[in-house]
């Protein structure tokens, strides 16, 4: 909403500048978006009168003028052809910055005559695009009048109103708050009734559900036409288009008093009545915006004998609108329910200044007074004779009084405000204070408790006075404030970054088609109102987003991305259906290196995943291959699980068909780790670690080469070897896998280095032989491995 300083001053006696008003508004809770202040730019310029203008001695086209200015009489050289004695114009003193020419004035001789200032054109002042000569102003303007005032330019203050304060949608309401804040004195806002002559012959009916109270009156014999200049200028200054005197008056009432009204051409109303009721099925209305709306049973319509003639509190209808031919006008001042009006706006997709105000809640205590004030304006501007006011229904009950212990101000805000000052603030804001009991004014339906009153007192007293007070010390959790899970999330990030992955943060939603490729896409998880069609489905997996990101980076020339994300995935549509995932992805490109190629990058990714699991304190996990979901490469993916049911992670190469569907160039390798599937360690009473047993005996290693079936996973060979003697065998590690010459068809040779750690004494050769035999036997029993001879 917008207003000008002079408009504010109609209600507030103050010398405050626009800047002071803006500051006071800001500190009272009104958020000023923007101030368009032409006065600031023109502050140096003022009205002057040319007393004498003579030919410059050394230049044909220049005149030397004697000018009466705010700084006294000045000799000024001017090149304008209209510089003549008796002209009232605009003067710029030395030192002034002239916006239109971008120069700062200096006392410089012009062809031998020093000019002590400048007479300005409209273009130089940037009040017009083009100008011919210097400004010519009415002679009635006094010397020294600020230029902005001479041009009728004013600061326009544009601000936002929070939904709790509809009373600020009228300039008078702002004046009241600024007066309470000490910026000036509120002028009398009371309204004198206009006595009516004879009854208003149109009957008013209300259905309380649709409209609690409806006041109206007939004004006969008006002459409608363009409104006077002052009213047109006022409306234009806040961005409204003048239409006709009657309509302009209703707009003025909206912006000045937050009292939207509607005027009907009484000659076009039929049936001798007007009513506010709920719409009927199929009922339509052509509104003033030229569109036809269907008013359903949830919408308040205004109707006469012919049916709907307006949408209550929203917009009038085309059929009964006033025109220059209107002679009798019916003025409506009603109170429409905020929730119903807001809903009407939403369902019909229609907004207006009236709808905006009624949806937030206008003052139900100002229905009749607003009508009286509008009557006065209509009689003044359009003439005519007012009939008596008619009222149907009753406004909602005014806010009830409640007890307010003044000590609560200090308890909740920390501010020490004397009791008398509290009362004074509340009274200035329109509250009725009777001892401990406070009654909010009808326009403050947002206030219903003592905390609200503390806000009123504190904001008027000024939040700047709040005493910064340290929080009381508390007993801290000795082990830090993060839970195990929170610590793991943090460590996961830092571990992945340490291993060369860049952290991405991607949307929680994705294209439903992509979600379906990754086991999601349930319609339950498709947003009803997505921001874009490719961001419509809650993600079942982070991978599509990382694939898409890697592909996008590749298209920009950065193909070997390594990305990770720690974030949510959604298994269902309930709050508890969310899991936290750590996902990593690499797009490996065989690096051309003078040192030769590395190994299979899938094992580098596996190493990263294992390191991450280790960092997060995961126990030993089983690896299972061949059960991967469809988005993985069937032969180059596996899962890590804790027992047969709990899948902690999946990793591998992504299926080329899936990558193709996502328009990504493969290969890409990835993993997803379910943070919640890693068991949390048992809480221990102490952080002491178990004593370390260091064997004084040298560990020894023995190598075994086994022949196994080609399809046997190496991991299944290692497990029985480790189990052959749990006390002595510390480790078993595959260091070579070979197929080809010397190995029978369909088999492979797997070489395993076994580390033996003697515990009590050095092993004798026979003991080592016996252990080796157990290892070979265990391998044979488990996977049919034969020691290679």
């Amino acid at each position: 909403m917008k207003f000008t300083l002079s408009w504010l001053k109609e209600h507030l006696a103050t010398d405050a500048t626009a800047d002071q008003v803006v500051d006071a508004m800001t500190m009272a809770g009104l958020e000023v978006e923007h101030v368009e202040n032409p006065a600031a730019k023109l502050a140096a310029f003022s009205v002057a009168k040319v007393v004498e203008a003579v030919q410059h001695p050394n230049a044909d086209r220049l005149r030397v003028c004697q000018v009466d200015t705010v700084d006294g009489r000045k000799e000024i050289v001017c090149g304008a052809p209209n510089a003549r004695a008796g002209l009232t114009t605009i003067y710029a003193p030395l030192g002034a910055f002239v916006p239109g020419s971008g120069i700062t004035l200096e006392a410089r001789p012009v062809r031998g005559v020093v000019s002590n200032g400048m007479l300005c054109s409209a273009r130089e002042l940037e009040v017009a695009e083009e100008s011919d000569g210097i400004v010519e102003l009415p002679d009635t303007l006094a010397v020294g009048t600020p230029a902005a005032e001479a041009f009728g330019l004013e600061a326009v203050i544009d601000f936002e109103v929070t939904p709790n304060r509809p009373d600020w949608l009228g300039v008078a309401g702002i004046a009241r708050d600024l007066a309470a804040a000490g910026l000036g004195t509120l002028k009398d806002l009371s309204v004198a009734p206009v006595p009516g002559k004879g009854p208003t012959t149109i009957e008013i009916r209300v259905d309380g559900d649709a409209c609690p109270v409806f006041a109206g009156r007939l004004i006969k014999g008006v002459k409608n036409g363009p409104s006077p200049d002052w009213l047109q200028r006022k409306l234009i200054s806040v961005g409204l288009r003048p239409i006709s005197a009657l309509v302009d008056i209703t707009n003025l009432m909206s912006y000045d008093r937050c009292r939207p009204l509607h005027v009907y051409d009484a000659g076009k109303l039929t049936g001798g009545f007007i009513e506010a009721r709920l719409g009927q099925p199929g009922e339509t209305l052509e509104a003033l915006d030229g569109k036809t709306y269907e008013a359903g049973p949830e919408v308040c319509v205004i109707a006469d004998g012919s049916g709907a003639v307006g949408l209550g509190g929203v917009m009038g209808g085309e059929s009964t609108k006033v025109s220059e031919a209107t002679t009798d006008v019916f003025v409506e001042s009603a109170w429409f329910d905020p929730i119903r009006t807001a809903q009407t706006g939403r369902t019909l997709g229609i907004t207006s200044d009236a709808q905006y105000r009624f949806a937030r809640g206008v003052d139900p205590g100002f229905v009749v007074e607003g009508l009286e004030l509008a009557t006065r304006l209509i009689l003044d501007l359009c003439g005519g004779e007012a009939c008596e006011v008619r009222v149907a229904g009753a406004p909602p009950a005014p806010p009830a009084a409640f007890a307010f212990d003044h000590a609560y101000v200090r308890k909740l805000s920390g501010l020490d405000v004397p009791s008398a000052r509290i009362d004074a603030i509340l009274t200035a804001l329109g509250f009725a204070v009777r001892g401990e009991m406070v009654t909010p004014p009808t326009w403050r339906r947002d206030v219903d408790g003592k905390a609200d009153l503390v806000e009123e007192v504190a904001r008027i007293e000024g939040f700047g006075a709040l005493p910064a007070t340290p929080l009381p010390e508390t007993s801290r959790a000795a082990g830090g404030v993060l839970t195990v899970r929170q610590t793991r999330m943090r460590n996961a990030r830092r571990a992945m970054a340490a291993r060369g992955y860049a952290e991405a943060v991607t949307w929680s939603f994705m294209r439903a088609a992509w979600a379906r490729l990754f086991g999601g896409g349930d319609p339950k998880l498709v947003l009803s109102n997505p921001i874009a069609s490719d961001l419509d489905c809650m993600r079942p997996s982070i991978l599509p987003n990382l694939i898409e990101a890697a592909a996008r980076n590749a298209r920009q020339g950065f193909a070997d991305a390594a990305l990770f994300e720690v974030g949510p995935v959604f298994d269902g549509d309930q709050p508890g259906d969310q899991r936290t995932i750590v996902a990593g992805l690499t797009a490996p490109h065989p690096s051309r290196s003078w040192a030769g190629a590395g190994g299979d990058p899938l094992f580098a990714l596996k190493a990263d995943l294992m390191a991450l699991l280790d960092e997060m304190g995961a126990p030993n996990l089983q690896i299972a291959q061949g059960h991967a979901p469809t988005w993985w490469h069937p032969g180059r993916s596996a899962r890590l699980q804790l027992g047969p049911k709990v899948v902690v992670a999946e990793f591998g190469e992504l299926h080329p068909a899936v990558l193709k569907a996502l328009d990504a160039e493969g290969p890409m390798l990835a993993f997803e780790l379910d943070l919640g599937a890693i068991p949390e360690p048992k809480k221990k009473p102490t952080k002491t670690k178990p004593a370390l047993q260091l064997s004084p005996l040298m560990p020894l290693t023995r190598d075994f080469a086994f022949l196994v079936d080609q399809a046997t996973p190496a991991g299944e060979l290692v497990r029985p070897i480790l189990g052959a003697d749990k006390a002595l065998i510390a480790d078993a590690r595959v260091f070579d896998v070979y197929q080809g010459k010397g190995v029978p068809e369909g088999q492979k040779s797997v070489a395993v280095e076994v580390t033996v750690q003697p515990t009590e004494k050095t092993l004798t050769d026979p003991e080592i032989e016996a252990l080796s035999a157990r290892i070979v036997a265990a391998a044979e029993k488990a996977v049919g491995a034969k020691l290679r001879s």
Partner: protein, 370 residues
């Protein structure tokens, strides 16, 4: 005499001439081995008379010691030379590049989240979390947004379709629902353990997380991150709120004092409500915090509304406190000079490498925040 002198001269020459360790070893065996020339001489001592032995013994032993020392000396020299030669042959060109390594990075929003948590942890705040898919009660109703209230419209809410229970869940529009989950007494929803649940006051928590609004332009993205704060106790007032936020801002921006301004505002779930601005300078194109003559809003806050306390089963005449909500991404943009919010979610590796943080930049009281 002469035979010994002669022998010593011959052996010395042979030692000096030995070209390598193997040749030297041959000389040693020839002199000092079992049948070596000196060993043979030593054997003759046994057959000598005591007088003769007294004369010849020291001479032969002396010869043995000197030749032995000469061989040892020569051996060390030969070995050193061999090592030098081996090392010289092992030279590599160290101007060659190492194998390519990726540079890992922590996302700036997550870094900033860690920084904020570190500061609030120091002030005694714990960390609570809640779900991204929320019900109407936690996201709106319990937070004093009455049904159909216009304030709800201002939240540009994302909606899911009606669920099995006939309710339309939302993507949380703020992290404030976790206030409710933490304060609400006696709830018994079966939810995963990471989701915040009832705490008995006093309560002091921060709540970081993803939040969603159906809005997209240069300064709004449909998803962003907020950090909620909540303090509930018997005598917490707005002065405590002011101290907390001022202290936080000064520590976060790592400047001794940042001038702040509290302005009245409106949020349904706080009363009184405020926004805090910090001094900033917008004159130079990018925003500098802590100096200048302009203000920048950085946090919404207020005293928890009595209705919110009541909705959670807490008596507002006994318990009171404050809440605040920061935009994490936005704080990061201000602190680290990232110009566009949308870049945060674009996963451009160049951007991540430039604005991201080292794995080792974890906030720490000894090293600072980043």
């Amino acid at each position: 005499m002469t035979d010994l002198t002669q022998l010593e001269a011959e052996l010395s020459a042979a030692v000096a001439a030995a070209p390598d360790v193997a040749a030297l070893e041959a000389v040693r065996v020839g002199a000092l081995g079992k049948a070596g020339s000196i060993s043979e001489l030593l054997k003759t001592l046994g057959a000598m008379s005591p007088d003769e032995r007294r004369e010849r013994g020291p001479l032969i032993n002396g010869l043995r010691d000197r030749v032995g020392a000469a061989i040892a000396g020569k051996k060390a020299a030969l070995e050193a030379a061999e090592l030098d030669a081996k090392l010289a042959a092992e030279r590599v060109d160290l101007t060659l590049p190492p194998p390519p390594e990726r540079r890992g990075r922590v996302h700036p929003t997550m870094q900033v989240m860690d920084e904020m948590i570190a500061i609030f942890a120091e002030m005694g705040f714990g960390l609570a979390e809640g779900p991204d898919i929320e019900d109407d009660f936690h996201n709106f109703t319990a937070l004093n947004f009455p049904p159909k209230h216009p304030a709800r419209e201002m939240h540009d809410t994302f909606w899911l379709p009606e669920d099995a229970g006939g309710e339309r869940k939302v993507l949380r529009t703020h992290t404030s629902p976790v206030q409710i989950r933490t304060m609400q007494q006696g709830q018994n929803d079966k939810l995963p353990s990471w989701i915040a649940t009832s705490q008995t006051p006093p309560i002091r928590i921060v709540v970081p997380g993803r939040t969603y609004r159906s809005d997209s332009d240069a300064t709004h993205t449909p998803m962003f991150h907020q950090m909620e704060g909540l303090v509930i106790d018997r005598a917490i007032h707005m002065g405590h709120l002011k101290w907390t936020l001022e202290t936080f801002v000064s520590r976060f921006f790592e400047t001794p004092v940042v001038e702040t301004r509290f302005r009245p505002h409106h949020f349904p779930f706080t009363e009184p409500s405020a926004e805090m601005d910090v001094r900033c300078d917008r004159s130079g194109g990018d925003v500098k915090i802590g100096q200048g003559d302009d203000w920048m809003e950085i946090v919404g806050c207020g005293m928890v509304h009595p209705n919110v306390l009541r909705n959670c089963g807490l008596d507002p005449d006994v318990w009171q406190g404050f809440a605040f909500g920061f935009g994490i991404d936005r704080l990061g943009m201000l602190k680290y000079g990232m110009p566009d919010l949308r870049d945060m979610f674009a996963s451009d590796v160049r951007w991540l490498e430039h604005y991201g943080f080292s794995a080792f930049a974890a906030p720490n009281p000894a090293t600072g925040l980043s």
